[in-house]
């Protein structure tokens, strides 16, 4: 490693190492986030909130608040989608087709007309509703439609538009969860940006290890045909339970091993000299921790991890490209030696095992 300028310099390698650490932490953060979203039924809660916003402000003929929403969930088309034996978010589906929504709403409104309905039945049904937000919305949706099919489409679009906004709510909520997960992850792994930079700067072996893993990850991301370019895969931890596949979270073992040198809490130093003699030489707290630096380091890591894996992968790609661009051109001897070894390797791979 020479130190000529930024290219191929220690500084660049430290930056690559740091970005790589951020990338892996961000991937872990996303995995935990998705798991939490499933556990907390965030999608179901989100859909329930959106439906409530649409239908809750419509009283019934007796003036009872929330009548329309209650009728909606009691309707067989919707009740059939609720998970039996559970209540609340656990019972609520995470998805509702707009066609089902529109059919249910129209059926509630035209309950007085069993069987096939026409546009005028829908119109009179809406007009018969007591004053409320759903009545206002439905009247607005059918006023220019003229026929039943168009009216149904307009109601479906109304639902779809609300779902688009609900997706926005979900994203904002997951962003909050992402930051919280990033804080916990940073604390658990003691991912202190300042300390990581310091370690990488002082320790060329650790730096080289991380740069190597970073290059490998970028290379695998580029070659789409590689069998190792999978973002995700699954496995069955319990072979007796084929109904429970488990997602295999990236990063790889090699990558996590590479992180070992820059993350984690230092072990306490032996209390006495005799203990110190028995103990293996390893990192331990040699001096008082500078909590100001550590908190700042954690803060920087949390901000970085919250930016997400795609962001850091993109940055890593750019740094690796700069590094590759700054490499000294190979001599003709090196090139021929390399190509010779590659072609031999290819031949070996293609040859039958004998």
């Amino acid at each position: 490693m020479n130190g000529n300028g930024l290219f191929n310099s220690i500084t660049l390698d430290v930056m690559i190492g740091l970005v790589f650490v951020y990338l892996l932490l961000a991937v872990l953060c996303t995995t935990v986030n998705e798991w939490l979203a499933g556990l907390m039924k965030l999608r179901s809660k989100n859909l329930a909130a959106a439906i409530k916003q649409l239908l809750d402000s419509q009283p019934g003929p007796g003036g009872d608040a929330g009548w329309f929403l209650k009728k909606f969930y009691e309707h067989p088309l919707i009740a059939g989608m609720l998970k039996p034996g559970t209540t609340g978010a656990a019972a609520h589906p995470s998805y509702l087709p707009s066609r089902t929504f529109a059919t249910t709403v129209m059926d509630i409104v035209t309950a007085q007309k069993p069987g096939k309905i026409e546009f005028k039945d829908l119109e009179s049904g809406i007009n018969a509703l007591p004053d409320g937000d759903v009545k206002k919305a439905l009247l607005a949706l059918i006023q220019n439609s003229g026929d039943l099919d168009q009216a149904q489409k307009n109601i479906e679009t109304w639902f779809d538009d609300t779902m688009d906004r609900a997706s926005g709510w979900f994203k904002r909520r997951t962003q909050v969860v992402t930051v919280l997960v990033a804080i916990v992850l940073t604390g658990l792994t003691n991912a202190d940006t300042i300390n990581i930079v310091r370690t990488l700067w002082k320790n060329p072996t650790q730096r080289a290890l991380l740069v190597k893993q970073a290059e490998k990850r970028v290379a695998e991301g580029k070659k789409e045909d590689s069998s190792t370019s999978e973002d995700v895969s699954v496995a069955y931890k319990d072979k007796n339970n084929p109904l429970k596949p488990t997602k295999i979270a990236k990063p790889s073992k090699d990558e996590l091993d590479a992180l070992g040198g820059v993350l984690g809490w230092p072990e306490k130093c032996p209390a006495s000299e005799s203990q110190a003699k028995d103990a293996q030489p390893k990192d331990c707290k040699e001096k008082e921790v500078n909590w100001g630096n550590r908190l700042l380091g954690w803060f920087l890591t949390v901000i970085a991890v919250s930016l997400g894996a795609p962001f850091w992968f993109d940055i890593l790609n750019k740094f690796i490209n700069i590094r590759d661009a700054g490499k000294k051109p190979k001599t003709s001897e090196q090139t021929s030696a390399d190509s010779g070894s590659t072609s031999n390797k290819d031949k070996t791979q293609g040859a039958p095992n004998v």
Partner: protein, 329 residues
């Protein structure tokens, strides 16, 4: 000569472009995925739009003795084809099918099957209006295949070896299944799968149970390693794959007698493993290999025991001697 060369190059380029465009996107509702992912079968009121009157001939490849029917079903909301395997063995159902006029609704139960084999030009979105098909094998990614009940007639007896059919050997079919690339993502309401084309409908292979058989309402699932031959030591799959057995069939009866490590010689067809898809799907599109599982359609005659042997074993043997049928698609 030169212009002929240019023309042929242009045609080749066009063919390549068309082939490249044949990776298709399937968008399923999350609710549907969660409902069927750990089930063997689905039920549907199938509007049978187009069907031939004779099953496929039997030899190899697509000449598999199945009979196709193209139709539409609200429960599925996708272009779909339903198939009876070993159609010649189930005369009552065949008579009913022949008498079915286009557009007639028939209650059908059978194994749900998603496989990216019959790709079309457009993405397929569950719940979108489905065009009335004009052929018995339109572009479709969803199948009810094999059918278990057609119009109330059970066709479970069709889950037997296809007499006279040469299936793809495991060493051909499984390396292909293992390497199909896919992208999987999810939104609040849907799961999207984009995959390259699938092939090799019927594979013959040996399974070695890697765990216990797990029963569900309409069948059983088990993880198993896959081998080419009975005495092979090296599996043709990287890891144990999930096998699907349909309740009431001979294969389901047979597998329940086995314990971990036991082997069974079977005939199967692949389908997307939605259980694995559901676990993988996140908002961020992820590249992966298409998760698949095998629907076990038959157990090799020699491996059938006692009460699991088909009632019509004698008929099957007779049929195996003479390959019959014509006009399959």
């Amino acid at each position: 000569m030169c212009s002929l060369h240019k023309f042929s190059r242009s045609v080749a380029a066009l063919v390549i472009l068309l082939a490249a465009a044949r990776a298709e996107k399937l968008i399923l509702s999350s609710t549907f995925v969660n409902q069927v992912k750990d089930r063997a079968t689905v039920s549907a009121n199938l509007k049978v739009d187009v069907h031939p009157n004779t099953p496929h001939s039997i030899s190899k490849g697509g000449s598999d003795g199945d009979i196709h029917m193209a139709g539409r079903a609200d429960e599925v909301g996708l272009p779909l084809v339903a198939e009876i395997v070993n159609a010649r063995l189930v005369k009552q159902a065949m008579t009913r099918l022949k008498a079915t006029a286009p557009g007639t609704e028939v209650p059908v139960e059978g194994v749900w099957r998603i496989w990216f084999e019959h790709l079309g030009k457009d993405d397929q979105i569950q719940g979108d209006p489905v065009d009335v098909p004009d052929t018995s094998n339109p572009a479709h990614l969803f199948e009810i295949h094999p059918i278990t009940t057609f119009g109330g007639d059970s066709v479970l007896d069709s889950f037997v070896d296809i007499p006279g059919y040469t299936a793809y050997p495991a060493h051909v079919a499984f390396p292909f299944y293992e390497q199909v690339k896919a992208t999987i993502s999810a939104s609040d309401s849907s799961v999207t799968i984009t995959s390259g084309a699938g092939k090799y409908n019927y594979a013959e292979f040996v399974i070695e149970l890697a765990g216990a058989v797990q029963d569900v309402d309409d069948g059983s699932f088990v993880l198993a390693n896959v081998f080419d031959n009975e005495d092979d030591e090296e599996a043709v799959t990287k890891e144990a794959r999930r096998m699907v057995f349909v309740k009431g069939t001979r294969p389901a009866c047979e597998v329940k007698k086995l314990t971990t490590g036991s082997r069974l010689h079977v005939l199967g067809i692949p389908r997307v493993n939605l259980s694995e898809v559901a676990v993988m799907a996140t908002e961020e599109a992820a590249a992966t290999h298409l998760p698949y599982e095998m629907i076990i359609v038959a157990v090799e005659q020699g491996d059938l025991t006692g009460d699991c042997a088909p009632k019509n074993a004698a008929t099957l043997k007779k049929k195996a001697k003479g390959k019959s049928g014509s006009g399959g698609e």
